[in-house]
Each structure stands twice: as C-alpha cells, then as structure tokens.
Symmetry: C2
DNA sequence: GTGAAAGCGCTAACAC
DNA sequence: GTGTTAGCGCTTTCAC
C-alpha cells in the first residue's frame, strides 16, 4: 500500500507473484499474447478486488503526456459562462473529452488579462496536452500563440483563420443566408448587433448586393455590456420617426431579448413592429415571449468537434500549417429554428 | 533540456552550478535564509531566462497531492450546463480555484449514470484532491459517497445535510420568506414548480400557517423536462375555471419563462393573470418579457464558497463529521430582485 | 548553506 | 511470456 493510501502496481505485482511490468501491461490492455492467460486472470481479479487504478501523476510523468485538455474562456468579465453559447460549447467539450478518455480543465480569463496569460509559463503550468480558446472576441496576437509550443485551437476569431488553427463559422456565407431570408420577407432596413468593425464591414459589403436594403450596426461602447447596449438601442429606436426604424433585428440572444423587452416599454412589440432573429440558440431564446426565431450553430457540437480536432493535432504531431489546414476542414454551419419573432412585410 | 522540450530543474541546477534541491527551494519560495543571496539571484534569473516552470506530474508524484479539484455536474441529460444556475456556479468555482492556485476539472454526468460513476476507481482516476458535486437533485446514496475516501462536497441535496458535507440554502426559511411575500400581496393560491416530494412536503407544511392559502405543485413526470412540464401546466391552467387558477407561480427561471410564454398563447398574461417569482436569477429572467422578479442565491458566490470549503476540508484533513460541521456553517441566502412580474391583488 | 541520495508510482526498452 | 533495468522530474530528508 502506498503512502497515499492507494494500492500500487508494485503491491499488485507482489500479490500476483509477477513483475510490475506484467501488471502494467494488463492495466494498459496491451497484454494480448504477451501475458499468459493464467496470470492475466489472476492480475485482473486482483485489480478488481483492490480497486486498483493507476495514479495519474506517475503515469503522466512516465508517459510524458497528461491526457488533459484545457478549455480557456475569455470575455470582458470573468463571468462569460453566463453566456449560454459558451456554457454549451463547454458542455460538448467536456463530454467529448470524457468519451475520448481525456480530462477537461476549465479556466475563465478576462480579456484584459488574456495576453498576459497566454505566455508559455502559464500554459505549461497547467500540465495539459493542448488547449482550446473560446470567448467573445478579445484581441489576439497570433505571434504570442504560436510562440507557445503547445497544440491549441481557437473557437471563433474567424479572421485569424489563415494564420492560426481556427474553427469558426463562415460568416460571409451566413450573412448572405440571413440577408436572403430577411429580403425575401420584404425587410429592407436591417439592424445588426455586432460591435466588431470586421463583422460590420463584412456585413455591409454583402448588403450592397440587395437592392434597397440598408443595414446598420450598433455604435460601439466599451463601457456597456450587451444588455445595456440593447437598452440604448431600444431607446434610439423609439425616438426615430416611424418610417426610419429598422424592421428586422439580427443579434445574439442576449441582445435580442434585452432589446425586445426594453422596446416593449416604449409600446413597441415583436414581431408587430420589428422582426427579430437571434444568431445564438438557447432556451432563453426559445422560451422568450415571443419565442425567437434563431439561425445558430449547434454549440455543443462545436465543443465536441473541438476536442476531436485538437486531439488529431496532438496525436498526429501536426505542425502549425497542418493544424490550420485541419481546422479549416471543420467549418460548422448554422441551422434555422423558425419561431414567432419574425413576420413578413406586406 | 528534457525530452518533453522543457527545461528541467536538473538542467537549471547545472547551469547555476548548484544542486537541484537548492533550485527546488527557490522555485517553491522556501529559500528564505536557506539559500545564499547570490545563488538565489542567479537561480531566479535563470528561471526567468529559460521560462522554467516545474512539471505538474512530477510535482504531484513527489508531493502526493495534485492541486486539482473536480466540479461534477449531474442532471437528467449530459447537458446540464444549459441551466445557467449551474454554469454560474461553475464560473465562481473555476475562478476561485484559480485564485487559490488550484486547477479545475469539469465533468458532466447523467443522473442515470451517476451512482455507477461515484465509485472510488472513477474518482481516483481523475487525479484530484477533492471534488464538488452539483446538479439537479439526482438520487444519492450517502454510503457510496463516504466509501470514497476523498474530500467531497455537495451543492444542494439539502436533506442530506446531516450525513454528508452539504452547502445548501435553508429551504424552510426561504419558503417562509416566499410565502410571507406572496401572502402580503394578497395571493392565496400559489403554484410551486417542484417535482421533488421532499420539497413539496416541506412547502405544504409551511403553507398551513397561512390562513386561506392553498399551495399546489406539479404532477411529476420523468418523461418531461422542465419546459415541457411548464407547457403542460400552462394548458392545465388555462383549462381551469376562472376562480380556481393560481395567482402566483414560484419556479425556476426555465419553468417560469416557459410557463409564461405558453400561457400567453392561451391569452393569459403576466402579471395580469398570474404573478411570477423565479428562484433562480439569470439574465434570461432579467430580460424576459416581462422581466421576472427573482428570489435567488448568488450562484457564482456559491461556487466560490464551495472551493474555500473543500480546500479547508482537504488541507485541514477534516474527517466526515468535521466536514459536515464546517459545510453547515456556510448556508447561502437568497436575495430579492424586484422586477415586473408580480402584482398586488386587490 | 549545500548537496547526496532516496523515493514518489508508473512505463517501456530490452534481454532472457 | 517474463523480469530486469533505467528512467520520467521533482521533493524531501539528512548529513556535512
């Protein structure tokens, strides 16, 4: 019995009257044809009897790999898991880790702290084989990430797709899908909640191809969170002359719900006055009053895919170029959930 | 340089011209008065220069502790993080782990699988120093948990408070608070979303002290999730004669939102026809239409407290009795958020 | 103050 | 098939 109170492989070997290495083989399932059936059976029953399980630390040390992955979440606050998109991604990630025999570590990092955190020291300290980074798009410096010689994967940060391993939707494709949808229902004045200049530009650029369509985004304000931003936009909406108001909003579930709730206080209703489509599916969107139409990724799936990809990178010993290539083979697609927050304009 | 590509303490010692044990002292900050200032400085600069960080696995092996905690989440599906209460608890848990120099592992376990999972083998395999279990109250067998000789803590499972280390609200106290509130606003017919017989009984028992008050709970149905249950209750509500409908609902944010949304389809509104109080605060409740009044724990705080308590149990080497005692010193209290889903009955 | 040495529990190469 | 052996990288006595 070891000092930690758990039985060790050495003890087990002694009890079975064999060498540690034999036990090791049995434990690791590489005993086929290497260990006599008799001993195999004896060892196995001993393992059962003593509830033997190898000690992680010793194993990691000897194997030089930890069988642990980290899920890094970043955002303006330490509280990004309040965003159900991310907790769903984590959910899929953790589950797939377990399926594939890996352990899942979780860290939540404020955006302000992120670049300081992304140093080799900090990542090494975790004792992980690789990591996945998700979150509301904090600024990221590609050089810092590649300097860390550790397999990693980004969930989001689409614009870094060519220089880092990124799994992200194809936003141009999806913006188009969205514009097609709104256009076909007669909407010509669309509001989009993004505060990212890159997304805004991309969206504007596509909108040009839709005759008569005008698109507007939210004026950014780093002081305000999404809810406050939505509240402000709702006031602004109410203050505008009747003909100049957007008839369709595209936003996150946070933004959409907050916007609609505030709008109602000004006497406007959804979908009567404005149609709403959320690009993030959640129970909150589905149960909102009215239930929100969404066009969203499957977040759990996204997390689950992330595990598969990072493991391929790790186990394949892929270099940066190959990792990027691999990640780009996994572009997730959004799907529609039609509910009651959208109406056709006559 | 070790095979893993990272510099080792041995290398560092060689470069500094000292023994490993000296470097170890410096790394671990126990060098005060034990190491000469000169060597101390030399070693420290070497550490910086080479980005040295000790390897987790080797350290854990030698120290016989892992500096890792696990957050176990259980619920009817693998998807319990969709419930923002739990993702918030995790958020606080992960953050506090980081603050206190521990790493946080996450596992999500289906209720059906839970008792099979809670075996010593499975917990040992994680290489953790202790674990915290949260989730929608799956059945738990106290004997199984105590059989695992590992520090653990339950978040919820109030009825096990006397036999296991549990951090949970004092529901009797909070039910009373809730009944006082509803009663004072003139509500006499209250619906409570719980499907747990224990909670129902406790609630009923308290309600007796409020003259004229009748309380009803949801008929349980293990096939249905909370949303479906709420939908069913909404239909049932609508089908009842006018005078017999509850005027106040107390439920989770999931249940309340779903209920209200479905009710609206029958032409009923909140708070006009029914007042709603959620016992779980979330942005979804705050942004619902109408915004929901809540009386809820601070979930992040709960998770953060859990870390502190489990670490006291671990570091203090507390036995079961002492752990229970300690946990019971930390009874979290709910707080009110008054919003627009409640009205006074004339 | 410093360093030698033993050991944590396991893996894996290799010789038998 | 089986056992010997040499680590993995770090901590921690204990003698000097």
């Amino acid at each position: 019995m070891s000092k930690s109170g758990r039985i060790t492989i050495r003890e087990l070997a002694r009890l079975a009257g064999v060498d540690k290495s034999i036990v090791s083989k049995v434990v690791n399932g590489v005993s086929a044809g290497q260990v006599s059936a008799v001993k195999q059976a004896r060892i196995e029953s001993l393992i059962q009897e003593h509830h033997y399980v190898p000690q992680n630390a010793a194993r990691s040390l000897a194997r030089r790999c930890n069988h642990q992955l980290a899920f890094l979440l970043t955002g303006p606050t330490q509280n990004s898991f309040a965003n159900s998109a991310f907790s769903q991604i984590l959910s899929g990630f953790a589950q797939q880790c377990r399926n594939l025999g890996y352990q899942c570590q979780v860290l939540s990092i404020e955006s302000a702290e992120l670049s300081a955190f992304l140093q080799p020291e900090n990542l090494y300290r975790l004792g992980i084989d690789g990591c996945v980074l998700a979150g509301t798009n904090s600024e990221l410096c590609p050089e810092n990430l590649t300097a860390i010689r550790m397999p990693f994967l980004l969930l989001g940060w689409e614009y870094l797709r060519d220089v880092l391993p990124v799994i992200s939707r194809d936003s141009s494709r999806e913006y188009r899908e969205m514009l097609d949808y709104g256009y076909s229902l007669g909407h010509r004045h669309i509001m989009y909640d993004s505060i990212s200049p890159i997304s805004q530009a991309r969206f504007q650029k596509l909108a040009v191809h839709y005759p008569g369509v005008s698109v507007e985004s939210c004026p950014a304000d780093s002081q305000l969170d999404e809810f406050a931003l939505a509240a402000r936009q709702a006031s602004a909406y109410a203050a505008r002359p009747a003909g100049e108001r957007p008839t369709l909003l595209w936003g996150s579930d946070h933004f959409c719900c907050s916007f609609a709730t505030h709008l109602r206080q000004f006497g406007f209703s959804c979908p009567g006055d404005i149609s709403i489509v959320s690009y993030s599916e959640s129970w909150s969107a589905a149960c909102y009053n009215p239930p929100l139409t969404t066009y969203s990724l499957d977040f759990r799936q996204w997390g689950s895919t992330a595990v598969e990809v990072i493991l391929q990178i790790i186990n394949g010993g892929l270099d940066l170029a190959a990792s990027i290539e691999l990640a780009n083979h996994h572009i997730p697609r959004s799907i529609w959930q039609h509910r009651q927050s959208v109406c056709r304009l006559s």
